[in-house]
């Protein structure tokens, strides 16, 4: 095995230059974060209440990322494939949620039973996203299983753009403003943290759905089938599990979560347009990687962490470093988080949960 040793040594030699550079980057980032945070907080520019407001906003936003990230992480866990079009699945749910909410907003139900109306909109959004996700899987991804991985990925990129512009064509390219919900105006304070009612709704809804998902994956037969398929597809099919159906189910569940996220996003920002899915999609993927791909809890953790980084990053770190108009660089912070995590801890915060790399 002298050859292997030689090979390892050679590789190590080549990489040490690169490794050194990466270590240097790691140190710079850590120092920058620490220094920036210290300066920002010590400058006293933002009050404690305002910091807390940013934290709540980050958590609420992060919950939405987490819901969408669930779809990415499940599909990757089973198929080792990034469903690039998942962001558009999210957008579709958000749009249809808008139309239903808009339609219902003229009726009596909106005023008297707003949560029932919202529930209807939520179900519509989830149904739409689930259908689109299933169609995607059936038409675009299933025929390409087994081909070199880039081929289905490129298909997903194509599907993403196709969906975006389909929605633009069907429903118009302008932004759709969600109708206001009287019951969701205002907020309340808990332990000094001020929660807007919408933010509280987002967090509560997310918790409920996470619990539901957990129960589904751990306790039901279908959930066990999914776990089996993600462990070892061949074995699972030999054991009598309908692999195709399980995979479809994964896409469906992921889609449903994304649809819910879409409606909550619409309520949070009040608007949605056909491009909303693109950025949210990338960030949700970042979240799933942050938390550990293939890991359901990781997706949610990653989402919350990303939300907080995005919300606090500019004000906390960049401002302290003297960057003018730091809030413009919010997305840069999010993307840098992705790069950093992939360089330094590619398995994510909670670690990956994937099957062994197949030959």
């Amino acid at each position: 095995m002298a050859e292997t040793v030689g090979l390892k040594a050679r590789r190590a030699g080549r990489l040490s230059g690169v490794d050194a550079f990466l270590w240097f980057v790691r140190v710079v980032v850590l120092v920058a974060v620490a220094w920036g945070s210290y300066k920002s907080i010590s400058s006293g520019r933002l009050t404690a209440a305002q910091w807390r407001g940013l934290i709540v906003a980050g958590v609420s936003q992060g919950a939405v990322y987490g819901l969408v990230a669930l779809g990415y992480t499940m599909v990757y866990g089973v198929l080792r494939f990034i469903n690039f079009a998942h962001g558009e699945v999210f957008m579709a749910g958000s749009m249809i949620g808008f139309f239903v909410a808009n339609g219902l907003s003229g009726t009596a139900m909106w005023a008297s039973l707003p949560f029932v109306a919202l529930l209807i909109a939520l179900l519509a959004a989830m149904a739409t996203s689930t259908s689109i996700s299933l169609v995607l899987e059936r038409v675009a991804y299933r025929p390409l299983r087994g081909l070199p991985r880039l081929v289905p990925f490129i298909t997903a990129v194509g599907a993403s753009f196709f969906l975006q512009y389909t929605f633009a064509g069907l429903f118009g390219a302008d932004s759709k403003a969600y109708p206001p919900v009287e019951a969701l105006k205002g907020g309340f304070t808990i332990v000094g943290f001020r929660f807007g009612k919408v933010q509280a709704l987002v967090i509560v809804a997310t918790i409920v759905m996470m619990i539901g998902l957990y129960l589904f994956v751990e306790r039901t037969k279908a959930g066990r089938a999914i776990r089996a398929v993600s462990e070892d597809q061949e074995m699972a099919s030999l054991m009598g599990i309908n692999v195709d159906r399980s995979i479809a189910l994964v896409f469906a569940v992921g889609g449903a979560m994304a649809g819910a996220g879409g409606l909550l996003y619409g309520l949070t920002f009040g608007q949605v347009d056909f491009l909303s899915g693109f950025l949210v999609g990338i960030k949700a993927f970042t979240a799933s990687v942050l938390g550990g791909i293939g890991n359901l809890a990781g997706a949610m953790v990653g989402g919350l962490v990303l939300g907080l980084i995005e919300s606090l990053g500019p004000s906390l770190v960049l401002f302290g470093l003297g960057v003018p108009s730091a809030h413009q660089l919010q997305d840069v912070v999010a993307f840098l988080a992705l790069v950093m995590i992939l360089i330094f801890r590619p398995t994510g915060i909670l670690g990956e949960r994937l099957a062994e790399e197949r030959a």
């Binding site: 990489l15 690169v18 753009f161």
Partner: protein
Amino acid sequence: MAEAVQTDLREELLPAREVDLRRSLRVGLLGGLTAVFVSAVGMVQSFDEAGLVVGPLSFGDILLLAVPFVFGVLAGQPPPVLKGFAEPTPGARNVIAGGVAGLLTGVVLGVFVALVDTFDVRDIFTRISPELLDILTYGQTLAVGILIGLVVNVILGLAGGASKLLGQRWRRPLFRALLVVVMLGVLEALVSQILRGARLGRVQDALYAPTGELQLPSAIAIGLGLFGLGLWLRDQPRAVRERIGAMERERRRLVAAGALVALVAVLGILPRVLGPFLTEVLNIAGIFLLMALGLNIVVGLAGLLDLGYVAFYAVGAYATAVLTSPASQAFSPELSFWVALPLVILAAVAAGLLVGTPVLRMRGDYLAIVTLGFGEIARILFLSDALKPVFGGAQGILRVPDIAIGPIEFRGPELFFYAILAFALVASYIVYALQDSRIGRAWMAMREDERVAEAMGVNTVAAKLWAFVIGAMLASFGGALIAVKVGSIFPNSFNVIVSFTVLIIIIVGGMASIPGVIVGALILVALPELLREFQEFRYLLYGALLIVMMLRRPEGLIPSRRRARELHEEEVVQDAWLRAQAADASATPSGE
């Protein structure tokens, strides 16, 4: 074609010789949904504004008519047969299958029309307007229109199914003639310009009406003429190619050189012939071509899916602008273009290293997302207030001076064409030289299997970085040229759509193949510029095209042979196995 295998197996493997009703219905349903989709999205209405032939046949109508026809063809296809076995002879059942599909398409469309007429959905589906309804019902009342639609769809479906009956000999020339006639109608601006430039104004008048549509008699004449020509010449291209292939190496080289010289001559006079607007279109396509050549190296040769390629393009553009324009605030050395160029290349190299280093150890799809992130980071940074003193923020940088060689300023589309041509030739040469070089082979090895390549001694770290660096360089050429051409740059032009467009050019055109990339750039960039009605749906069609290409022909339109083989590996292996089986079976007596 391999001989038909003479065993009983054949009867068992082939499906029954009747109309596959379920399949026809499924195809028809799909056709109907497509027709509805195309209407709801607004394509029918937008295309309706342009006409193909003088008279009632607009492109919108053609689009609608094409749907049942195409799906009729699909339904009329004989059932899929394993390679090596003979296809069943087409007959009435193909036609009927097509008709059934057409019928269902008509039914679905009819239901759609009826629904839309009853319920006003314009609030939601913004494109479903009374005008659309008018088109769909052929200008008649609802019931009559639906009925007409049904009949038309059935007839076209039958025609589509019958197309198989014609046989290769007739079908190919017919389709090609039709295609050319449609293209003549679509590309009216281009053809008119060429005819005018060639002093063939009379021909132009005979061909086109003042409104830009084809004159019916000319269209028919050309269609028939081409059909005849196609029948007569049907085997000529292949004969020519075979003859060339049969020539000795030296003569083949001469032929290739001759073709190249002719090509260069044509390119030299092209701007003069085409006029400013069309040359401008070619210029835009040319810049994308440059970028595609660069991305070809990163994705096609080295197998690194870079979705943030626009970042290098932006670096090239901004470097050029900052170095040459007097309008950049903090730092404006106002160098001349040629003096600035090496510095621009340096900036691109730095960018390539900056992007390449962190992604060295990442898996393929992660690499894609991270590079996408880098692309966005670049755009945001160029847009930001923080870097505004250098990069101009949202207002960008104006007053970028033209390229000059001595006293000649490359101003105006025609002169600029030559500048782009020069860069494109250089870039093509670089790609061509790299393909067969040591690093090119290192890339191909790496693309196949990274670990094995490492074991064979390939320095994958260096290879990856080289790929990024060279790709960045070529993209920066594109950036430099666009900055000079437009005279100003703005951060929001450097968005993910540019990366996506370049990607689709190489995917559709053919990865790792220079002619493929050229064809891709022409079809995907030049063509949409000429088709104004098409503009709105450009990215929708790109997306659909990408999906279809990946499903059917992942190696692209004009691929490199190696790539095609890689992607259809399984089929190649299966082919070989089947042929071996057929050889075996014919050698031994039939029966179990």
